[in-house]
């Protein structure tokens, strides 16, 4: 089987000799090289089949595809439920969305997204049926079948029962199901007894198995963070589906090494917008897209780069030896267990033969830009910001119009107005507002101006009231906004209709995300969830501290800083300054017996201008990460908190909540600190060189008095105008504000730019950004530039 033997004259695949066989293989080879590789989920028709509503991505009879030996479908049973049926195993069921359960040989397996149910190869096949967890909730799974094996084992399929819905299912009383080994009679010293015993042993070796994502340890590899569902080194592999099955997670912007593999498998995008590069050809994917990895003659190279979002992909692939469809086809049935090839780093195609240490993908995110205010140059790895952005009254006015009047703005936490009638004054984007909860319990945001003549309506900074009365002409409004009293109302005919036009003016849009209340002055703003996008996951990590959510403590830090609001954003997204600026705080921690480190920290740029710094060894956190200064009692409480988290969220999520610290910036006016304790900081620009700050401490609702007291003391030691660290941050941005005047109007205009290039060199090599780099700051400036700096006047 040399290369030259392929390049002969055209041959017909129906010839009844070797030539015909080679011709057929040649056709498969052609498909693998020239067939369709990228299948967009939205282009795959949704059809009702005998087993339920399905999208068939890959079938052996789909001649246009590069992959020829697989059956891959996504099923959700929205129209037609599944029937009970039997066929041989060697198949994987992978949860894609929502929750469901599968009943296999009478045993029920409840699964969620990214769990897998393995249907093993057992004598007689498996009797099974799939259900949505609830008929009104999504429940999608992917069926992954390697056809040659199923055919080789006898691909008979028998429909045992018609389709039923979850609500109609009851555990079967008839346990005469086939092939689970339990119905086989006890062994007797006969040939039949021997066979029976063997079958029982087989069945007990390979029962159907549920593999939960939460139980799988992440494998930090050159190919991203992997979780192995089916792996040759795992016990029971021989009897399960004869394939690798794993998921891959990549942080936004991060790329894998390019790997050479024998191919023959699929990649399905569960989340994100990754770019998948197959043999040097990029395929921009979105959620539910599939990339086929065909078994090409010399194998294929694969690399993945996450886009602006975290990428999660599930990969199913045949073990193979990299010699293409012939070897694969020849070995498929006879030896379902082929050796696991060694993944190795190699240059991308067209880059010559030398083996590079890392070979990043082309980087679509690394686009250069040059506007009046932001210069990003990936050739020189330089990112600069024109200092005019901190000084200019014109830009300040433009920001008001394009950011603060259009974006979602953080207003406050719902617990600040916990009881009906509670209200607080709060100014956002220069507009005085009333943040309140009306008597029906609904959280409200009103403009604090009487509809009559514009007088400030509510003059108490906070309180509890059923009504608001304007002192000027004594118009009275219910706390729902309704105008309920006008002195001498008869002067306004018709009285009722007039009053209806004069209700308190609400802020056009208001939405609540898990207790965090946001408003927008733009009625056409996108839904809050779309604005928050990936930031939601990091907000969730904070809310998940406690089974009862968070509450804002009494006592608000209210202070002004003599600096532009964007300096406060830069400072918070800047891990670089921590060591030099906060050396006295680091000293203090060291004296209490705790040493901080920057190891393993990340800066992650999220969509819509948000970004997050992740710290692993930054410092302890009350309730989550112990430090000696917290004392022994807190060490025990942390132990039981983590236990509770594991039970509620699973080991992996619990580790994320408890094990890492974070600073999250939600564009444009909210900073959330999950370091030391939990805090929210709101930025309110007042002038180009002046910003008001409001900061709240958040805490798990209903925590013990001891924890609460410790939390307050620990957070207070670091954060806020009286802490041991924040004053030095304030000094930093006030000093920048005073310093950037020096270069204004200089004869050398190039020196009037600030540099935030740190980490670009690493980023251009495809390495993840560290929190001590300036990547988070760059993400902010790009978004700001899109909205303000480079937008047409």
């Amino acid at each position: 089987m040399t290369a030259t033997s392929r390049a002969g004259s055209p041959r017909a695949a129906d010839q009844r000799d070797y030539e015909g066989l080679f011709a057929r293989w040649e056709q498969l080879y052609e498909r693998a090289h020239r067939g369709q590789v990228h299948i967009r989920g939205r282009d795959v028709p949704v059809v009702d089949s005998r087993q339920g509503t399905s999208q068939f991505y890959v079938m052996p009879q789909f001649e246009e595809l590069a992959l020829s030996q697989w059956v891959i479908f996504v099923r959700d049973h929205t129209g037609v439920p599944s029937g009970r049926h039997t066929h041989q195993g060697g198949i994987a069921i992978f949860g894609v969305e929502g929750d469901g359960f599968s009943v296999v040989n009478g045993r029920r397996f409840d699964w969620s997204a990214e769990d897998a149910v393995l249907l093993p190869i057992v004598p007689g096949g498996l009797d099974h049926q799939h259900f949505r967890a609830r008929d009104d909730r999504p429940s999608k799974f992917m069926g992954i079948i390697y056809e040659p094996l199923v055919v080789g084992l006898g691909a008979e399929m028998v429909q045992l029962e018609p389709q039923t819905r979850q609500s109609q299912w009851a555990p079967a009383t008839d346990t005469g199901a086939k092939g689970d080994g339990r119905t086989v009679a006890a062994a007797e010293p006969t040939l039949a007894g021997l066979l029976a015993m063997r079958e029982r042993q087989r069945a007990s070796l390979h029962p159907p198995a549920l593999i939960r994502r939460a139980d799988l340890p992440p494998d930090a590899s050159a190919f991203g963070e992997l979780r192995w569902y089916i792996h040759p080194a795992a016990p029971g592999f021989a009897g399960t589906a004869p394939m690798f099955l794993f998921t891959q997670r990549l942080e936004p912007g991060r790329a894998t090494d390019v790997l050479a593999t024998p191919g023959n498998g699929i990649m399905f995008v569960l989340e994100g917008d990754p770019l998948v590069e197959l043999d040097g050809v990029p395929y921009q994917c979105e959620r539910t897209d599939m990339v086929l990895v065909p078994p090409r003659r010399d194998g294929v190279t694969i690399g993945v780069r996450a886009g602006r979002h975290e990428s999660r992909i599930v990969v199913a692939r045949r073990p193979g030896d990299g010699r293409g469809p012939r070897a694969e086809a020849a070995s498929a049935v006879a030896a379902p267990l082929l050796r696991c090839e060694r993944a190795y780093r190699m240059p991308r195609r067209g880059e010559g033969g030398a083996v590079a240490t890392t070979t990043p993908l082309p980087v679509p995110a690394l686009r250069s830009r040059r506007s009046a205010y932001v210069a990003e140059d990936w050739e020189k790895r330089i990112f600069r910001v024109n200092r005019e952005v901190f000084r200019s009254p014109q830009l300040f006015a433009r920001e008001r119009a394009r950011v603060w009047e259009r974006s979602w703005l953080y207003l406050g936490h719902e617990s600040e107005v916990a009881r009906p009638g509670d209200f607080k004054q709060r100014t956002l984007a220069g507009r005085p507002l009333i943040f309140s909860r009306d008597s029906t319990g609904r959280v409200r945001a009103f403009l604090n101006a009487c509809p009559h003549r514009g007088t400030v309506l509510c003059r108490e900074t906070e309180g509890n009231a059923k009504t608001f009365q304007c002192f000027y002409h004594a118009w009275t409004f219910a706390n729902t906004g309704e105008l309920v009293g006008i002195p001498d109302a008869g002067a306004y005919p018709p009285e009722r209709a007039f009053a209806e036009t004069m209700a308190m003016r609400e802020v056009p849009r208001s939405e609540n995300y898990r207790g965090f209340v946001f408003v927008s002055f733009d009625p056409r703003v996108v839904p809050l969830a779309d604005h928050l996008a990936d930031a939601r996951d990091y907000l969730d990590l904070m809310v998940e501290h406690s089974p009862r959510g968070l509450e804002a403590l009494p006592g608000t830090h209210l202070y002004g800083i003599r600096g532009n609001w964007k300096l406060a954003v830069e400072n918070a997204m800047d891990g670089y300054h921590f060591s030099p600026t906060h050396v006295t705080f680091v000293e203090y921690l060291k004296n209490t017996g705790y040493v901080t480190s920057d190891e393993g920290g990340r800066a992650i740029t999220l969509a819509n201008g948000h970004s997050v710094l992740v710290f692993s060894g930054h410092g302890g956190r009350v309730g989550m990460q112990w430090e000696p200064r917290f004392g022994e009692a807190e060490r025990l409480r942390i132990g039981s908190n983590i236990e509770e988290l594991r039970g509620r969220l699973g080991a992996e999520r619990a580790a994320r909540v408890s094990g890492t610290s974070r600073i999250l910036y939600v564009f444009p006016n909210l900073l959330l600190f999950d370091i030391e304790g939990l805090a929210a900081r709101q930025l309110e620009p007042v002038a180009p060189d002046y910003t008001d700050v409001r900061a709240w401490e958040l805490a798990p609702t209903g925590e013990t008095a001891d924890s609460r007291a410790l939390r307050i003391r620990v957070l207070g030691s670091f954060i806020g105008p009286g802490g041991l660290a924040t004053p030095d941050d304030v000094e930093a941005y006030e000093c920048v504000q005073r310093g950037v005047v020096a270069t204004a109007g200089d004869a050398r205009p190039e020196i009037d730019w600030s540099d935030v290039s740190r980490g670009m060199e690493r980023e251009s090599r495809g390495e993840p950004a560290r929190n001590v780099d300036e990547a988070g700051i760059r993400g902010f400036w790009r978004h700001w530039d899109d909205l303000v700096g480079s937008a047409p006047a």
């Binding site: 403590l553 202070y559 008095a705 030691s717």
Partner: protein, 160 residues
């Protein structure tokens, strides 16, 4: 009958003010009983307790020691160079005593001058002093701001 006279309390407070204005922080820390506290509640919750509410400052004796140590470092950037401060302390009232402890209230006006700005911080002290045979010390030192917001200068990097 108080254990101390107003004259003695005023002398103590004026001496303390001089130590702070002259940045003699070690001597100032020596005015605290072991176990004493230093508190500054937020402007919107001047009457809260520091184990239930967020404060600007709620130092126990050890954290206060760390604060002093930090402020003496040239790496305490917010106060390097030091602010100039001048404290005017008046309206001193000596309240009830319990054993050796005496409640003392006073008004303060502190000017903080740095970087071309003159910021004033006005408020009241709600101290508890321990008056033993060997002199007066702080049991609780509490500074309550009358400001609505920490403006124009938003930092309490100095001692209030």
């Amino acid at each position: 009958m108080s254990a101390v006279t107003r004259q003695q309390v005023e002398d103590f407070l004026f001496h303390e003010a001089a130590l702070l204005d002259e940045w003699r922080l070690d001597e100032w820390y020596g005015l605290f009983e072991p176990g004493a506290t230093y508190e500054v509640p937020t402007t919107d919750r001047p009457n809260e307790r520091s184990d239930r509410a967020q404060f600007y400052v709620s130092d126990d004796y050890e954290l206060l020691g760390a604060r002093v140590k930090r402020l003496k470092s040239r790496h305490a950037h917010a106060e390097n160079p030091h602010s100039r401060t001048r404290r005017l302390i008046t309206n001193v009232r000596v309240g009830r005593s319990e054993g050796h402890d005496v409640r003392v209230d006073a008004a303060f006006l502190i000017y903080k001058i740095r970087d071309g700005n003159v910021d004033s911080f006005v408020g009241r002290y709600e101290h508890v002093l321990a008056a033993n045979g060997d002199g007066i010390r702080f049991r609780r030192r509490r500074a309550v701001l009358e400001l609505e917001v920490l403006r124009p200068g938003g930092r309490l990097s100095f001692i209030l």
